[in-house]
Symmetry: C2
Subunit: 361 residues, 2 copies
Amino acid sequence: MSRLENDTFLRALRREPTEHTPVWLMRQAGRYLPEYNATRKRAGSFLDLCRNAELACEVTLQPLERFPLDAAILFSDILTVPDAMGLGLYFAEGEGPRFERPVATEADVARLPVPDPNDELGYVMNAVRTIRGALAQRVPLIGFSGSPWTLACYMVEGRGGTDFRQIKTMLYERPDLLHRILDVNARAVSAYLNAQVAAGAQALMIFDSWGGALADGAFQAFSLAYIRQVVAALQREREDDGVRSPVPVIVFTKGGGLWLDALADCGADALGVDWTVNLAQARARVGDRVALQGNLDPMVLMASPDRVRAEARQVLESYGTPRAGHGHVFNLGHGISQFTPPESVAALVEAVHEISAAQRR
Amino acid sequence: MSRLENDTFLRALRREPTEHTPVWLMRQAGRYLPEYNATRKRAGSFLDLCRNAELACEVTLQPLERFPLDAAILFSDILTVPDAMGLGLYFAEGEGPRFERPVATEADVARLPVPDPNDELGYVMNAVRTIRGALAQRVPLIGFSGSPWTLACYMVEGRGGTDFRQIKTMLYERPDLLHRILDVNARAVSAYLNAQVAAGAQALMIFDSWGGALADGAFQAFSLAYIRQVVAALQREREDDGVRSPVPVIVFTKGGGLWLDALADCGADALGVDWTVNLAQARARVGDRVALQGNLDPMVLMASPDRVRAEARQVLESYGTPRAGHGHVFNLGHGISQFTPPESVAALVEAVHEISAAQRR
């Protein structure tokens, strides 16, 4: 079905048997790698790096040169979409992403466009194509986007790391306005992800990084409903050299452990879970509806290789041995810290492969 | 049993019938009140305010003058205990609390004392006595402390709002060291809370503000176990003028919704829950083991009084009408924002009282 040398990741997402538990790490191409920092310096700014297909490809492949990871993920940022809507993304040094023109008024909402993913976001598709070429069928490439709600948080707050006061005031006082933003975002995200599939992405992930900030009830109405709208509009199959393959979709709501049941019915193939979730309980709850991805605390990687191995074993044993109709992809419960020693990652990937292969014997 | 004019709050915590759902708000004495800011200015620093019994009493009572709240809470800070251990608490302007001498080494841990609550922390007991006098049996006074884990986060990180890298490195690499800190904290917190009861506190609350940062498994071992140790050591009864009354204990793990089952067995009378929790599901899960406190999103208070009322109704209806053996205390899911219009609080308290009284008819 696939010409990939290593399609373990895709098979686990399809809940098919695998010889070991596949592993990749959120933000695996990042600042904990000296070679990343070197490329980043050559590129100029973070955005320059995202917009340069050759350099984005270079950093995407860097962790794969060091560690036998089972998937690559497109190097980009979740805020490319609102940037393409004209909000003016920039990075204040040491302070994370900001928008020059946040969405504040009814008029701002009315003029929000659905960007053409092959025009304003063409640089992302170039990166996808370049990376696919360079990967040469070693492992699958994951494309991604922020969820409609998570993008809206940045668009309305103008930045991350806030108390969500602006967007929640809108949510409680003008829900109609927020629903309009979320509908634009859902259409933009669907088009963006489908363009990534057309350009070569073999799996998709939706990052609902701020879903966990919502109240019960509000989460279902303002985040989950629009994730569902996106997932329903996605291209779930692609063709490479005449071979058709499914394109699995992973949805990750950070802090969404209480809503796993509802998330399991959103149409995705797999759910990401953070480290607060008990994998055994989560597996029992979602049954054979979805595979699970996660969920090591990234801070475990600050400890010695022996401790990393012990904690990796605990995550694998908590999930248990995958049976038919179930699937587990090993990952962190959040992006890797910039302070992670690369040796810890080497120990982790080796431990996951060894321990999970032994579990299956 | 009690000479209080209004003991609705205590009865709800004891899961006895009440005429309406009692309501108080975390951080109800705070910066959203102009009169608080005026007193704070007179006091000097935030710590000066905590250390001045008359002024701490004044701000504790301010929200009760405006709103018919069903409980008062001691005005203080959760970091008084580690400050009394000699770590040097200070507040960097606009940046939250810091410690001059964070706990970093084995030697630092070895010299951590259990402070005498009537000596180094005597100013807190003075405040409790002064407030009880001024309250003159209107409503009960809540004493409080941070949980051992939450205090340890500040003690090791030296500040709040971090990625928990220092303390989690210790947790994964030197769990023995962290357990020693947590044991000291548990003994210090028990003594501190018991001294508050002796000074006049009629209910106690343990704030496990950072419990939700822990991985499943780690939460049980590094936070819950020490909350249980504290609760087991607490004085659960007090005598006022020859009348003996129980002293109920509330435990609040922010982000702890996934662990409600285990929390319900920690020995507390009630559990605080944040807004991500579905109250109907939580009530079904904890049964008649504990009362529940919560859980309006504080950002609802940014909306108009009509919306505040509608959202308050939703919280009350989600819990449902308390029956024998169940109890609900209305609160926010986190501290009130400094940007809250006081009119919203007036609308909220009125709505909770009216709607919950009507529910019982």
